[in-house]
């Protein structure tokens, strides 16, 4: 008796196009601007190039990926550690880079937060910081890896092996490349494997309360849970 063809399970479904894992290496360039108080920082943020804003918000997440709490961007950390402006540090720390698809918009938000804080606390503007803030920028280079995934199993296998720099590149840095509130992994799951639910779940993993290794584990767990239920 003939049996009806089985629908492919999520686990065995093949992608229309494979996912090629890349990684990113970066070099830090030292900029010309530095700030010795909050007023100078405000001016520097207004005037510096986009690469510098990117460095101190997005890129710093990779550099400090091992810290799961208390670190979101360099401006917040400096306001806290060097200026002892806890309220400002909190407000800056609350900026979530995932909400931004362009650096100018992110810059505008940072400037607005510092401006409004200094309006309320004018004395804080010129109070000397304990150490200067040096604006820097990163030169990024994409480094291909040998890891390729064509289905969930291969993807999970690769996720266990790639460096955290690859996870940063696809999961965080991708947002600016794509100009979307999304990441490379989710885009692939949605467009190449027709798994929009999984894509959405992955995109909700919090990069601020987890280290990048924890993000890796969360991605793997999310995929495995999805595959088990599908």
């Amino acid at each position: 008796m003939a049996t009806a063809p089985q629908l492919p399970t999520a686990r065995s479904r093949w992608a229309k196009a494979p996912f090629y894992f890349n990684s990113a290496a970066h070099l830090l360039r030292i900029g010309r601007e530095k700030a010795t108080n909050l007023q100078e920082l405000l001016e520097a943020i207004r005037n510096t190039n986009d690469a510098s804003i990117f460095q101190h918000t997005f890129q710093t997440l990779e550099e400090h990926h091992f810290i799961g709490e208390g670190f979101s961007n360099d401006f917040s950390h400096w306001a806290f550690a060097a200026c002892n402006e806890v309220e400002l540090a909190e407000r800056l720390a609350a900026i979530d880079v995932r909400e931004f698809t362009s650096i100018p918009a992110l810059r505008e938000r940072i400037v607005h937060i510092i401006e409004s804080y200094l309006q309320k606390n004018p004395r804080a503007a010129t109070r000397p910081a304990m150490e200067p803030f040096y604006l820097m920028a990163a030169d990024l280079v994409v480094v291909p890896t040998p890891y390729v995934a064509r289905n969930l199993e291969e993807f999970v296998d690769a996720m266990r092996k790639v460096t955290v720099h690859a996870i940063y590149y696809h999961f965080i840095d991708a947002r600016l490349r794509l100009k979307l509130n999304n990441n490379d992994f989710s885009v692939w799951f949605e467009t190449e494997l027709d798994m929009p639910q999984l894509a959405d779940r992955l995109n909700r993993i919090d990069i601020y309360t987890s280290t990048l290794d924890e993000v890796r584990n969360a991605i793997i767990k999310t995929i495995e849970t999805y595959a088990a239920r599908a």
């Binding site: 030292i30 670190f71 990024l140 280079v141 460096t163 600016l176």
Partner: protein, 502 residues
């Protein structure tokens, strides 16, 4: 790199650098931050009567410490002969440290550079932090099939007197720059330039001594990089004005910290100094060896151990460390270990050691160790035995002893000076302090909150792994070479986030 520190190995006699992965004697780095490294050549231990104050017997007040601790504290078993040199690690050996994927990324970057040749030039083949770095880096590059040649400039005593003066002047010291001095500097640079050949694709010139070699630059080929290991934040104006036009002929300049830079019209990159996790100073040790070292020095592992490793130098504030310890001791029963060198052949070091001995008084729990230069393994063991590592410097270069502490997963309490704030993210990867009292308070807090201390240690090790290991440094070099040769282009500012691929 300090000329003072390396002068013993200099002179007009040519020294051969280590271009291959051959065994070289590893000299211990007592205070080994990159810009002020003191690497002393092994010397035979002097007879008892000639030993510096640190090795003379101390008098201790009455204590209930077991007799064997007291005996060892009075007469520590210090190794008097240098041990045989260890075999240098191979690139694959680092897999256990950073993992295969990371090694693969480095291999990938190196593969793209195959066929490109590199020349590294500095002013000494042995002694000094730069030589130590190159001793590790150059063989690794060659192993990765990026042919890298290390050459050392030669010069007479007059040249090295001048460069020593420049070194101090660039650190802000007073200096009289005369035409004669300029001529001496330039004539030796010119002699070396004539002697050397420059057929390579990339030239990395370390520190100011050989900076004038850039006059051999050919606009049509070759990229020139100036690697500055010293702090230029407050240089003597005349000396910097003399050197700056030469520096600006390079394609890029590299500094160890943002604070160490000057305004230049060439791109400046940040390369943190690094440690080798497989060196004698930093490799994993058996617990039995750590116990043996503690036993040799009379250290009681059943009570907290606070340790500062640094040469006996006022800028490291050893007396301030003792004052902090005394404040801690009121609340927590602990020991302080001050271990370092520099007191045997440095008159100022001997004076500071005497001050330290006086500050310690008859407290048997202040253990002062004036160690010979071949004590890398012992220092490693001391750091690993420590409950808290202190580096209460008043002025500092990058502060690689801090890196060593982070690498060993220890909570580090350190002065917020020089390159230390780059390494210690306050309360995340360690604790920054600004005073004796602050130092004491933070140590007390760490001793009474071991979970927090453990978390700092864990974060600190991750920070060191990510940023301050020789493998990271190797990767940075390979990346910079590709960028300068146009094999990979940096993301344009207007296209931030659109990283360049090969």
């Amino acid at each position: 790199m300090s000329d003072k520190d390396t002068k013993k190995s200099r002179g007009s006699k040519k020294q051969e650098p280590n271009n291959n992965n051959e065994v070289r004697r590893e000299t211990a780095v007592i205070e080994n931050e990159a810009s002020e490294t003191v690497v002393e050549e092994p010397v035979t231990a002097p007879p008892e009567e000639e030993r510096p104050p640190g090795s003379k017997e101390r008098r201790f007040r009455q204590t209930d410490l077991p007799a064997h601790f007291i005996e060892r504290r009075k007469h520590p078993r210090i190794q008097t002969e240098p041990p045989p040199p260890p075999a240098p690690p191979r690139f694959d050996d680092y897999e256990s440290i950073i993992g295969k994927p990371e090694l693969d990324e480095i291999r990938f970057l190196a593969r793209h550079l195959r066929g490109k040749t590199v020349k590294m030039v500095n002013s000494t083949a042995v002694g000094g932090g730069v030589a130590e770095i190159l001793n590790r880096l150059v063989p690794l590059m060659n192993e990765l099939e990026v042919p890298t040649k290390w050459e050392v400039i030669t010069g007479g005593n007059d040249f090295f007197e001048v460069t020593k003066g420049f070194h101090n002047a660039l650190h802000g010291g007073d200096y009289q720059l005369t035409k004669t001095i300029r001529d001496i500097f330039m004539s030796y640079n010119e002699q070396n330039r004539q002697r050397m050949e420059f057929p390579e694709d990339l030239f990395v010139i370390h520190d100011p001594q050989p900076v004038g070699l850039v006059r051999s630059r050919n606009e049509n080929r070759g990229r020139w990089i100036w690697r500055c290991h010293i702090d230029l934040s407050n240089p003597h104006g005349d000396v910097w004005d003399f050197l700056k036009p030469m520096v600006e002929q390079y394609d890029a300049a590299i500094f160890s910290a943002p604070a160490f830079t000057r305004q230049l019209n060439v791109p400046q990159y940040l390369f943190y100094p690094s440690i080798d996790p497989l060196s004698e100073k930093n490799k994993e040790l058996d617990e039995s060896y750590i116990n043996k070292v503690c036993d040799d020095f009379g250290i009681d592992r059943s009570r907290p151990i606070l340790t500062q490793i640094s040469r006996f130098d006022r800028l490291k504030d050893p007396v301030g460390v003792i004052e902090s310890y005394k404040l801690v001791k009121k609340y927590v029963d602990c020991q302080l270990v001050l271990a370092g060198g520099g007191a045997t052949d440095d008159p100022e070091g001997a004076v500071v050691l005497q001050e330290v001995m006086e500050a310690a008084g008859d407290d048997p729990d202040v253990i002062i160790l004036n160690l010979p230069p071949w004590s890398a393994l012992e220092i490693n063991a001391l750091q690993r035995a420590s409950t808290v590592i202190i580096q209460k410097s008043l002025k500092e270069g990058f502060g690689l002893t801090v890196t060593e502490g982070l690498w060993k997963e220890k909570p580090v309490v350190a002065g917020a000076v020089g390159g230390i704030p780059t390494q210690i993210i306050h309360k995340l990867t360690g604790v920054l302090v600004h005073s004796v009292e602050g130092c004491a308070y933070q140590i007390r807090y760490l001793l009474t909150h071991p979970e927090f201390a453990a978390q700092l240690g864990k974060n600190g090790k991750a920070h060191a792994t990510e940023n301050f290991l020789i493998t990271v440094n190797l990767k940075r070099w390979l990346l910079l070479f590709q960028l300068l040769l146009g094999m990979a282009k940096p993301a344009k500012e207007a296209m931030v986030g659109e990283a360049t691929s090969f």
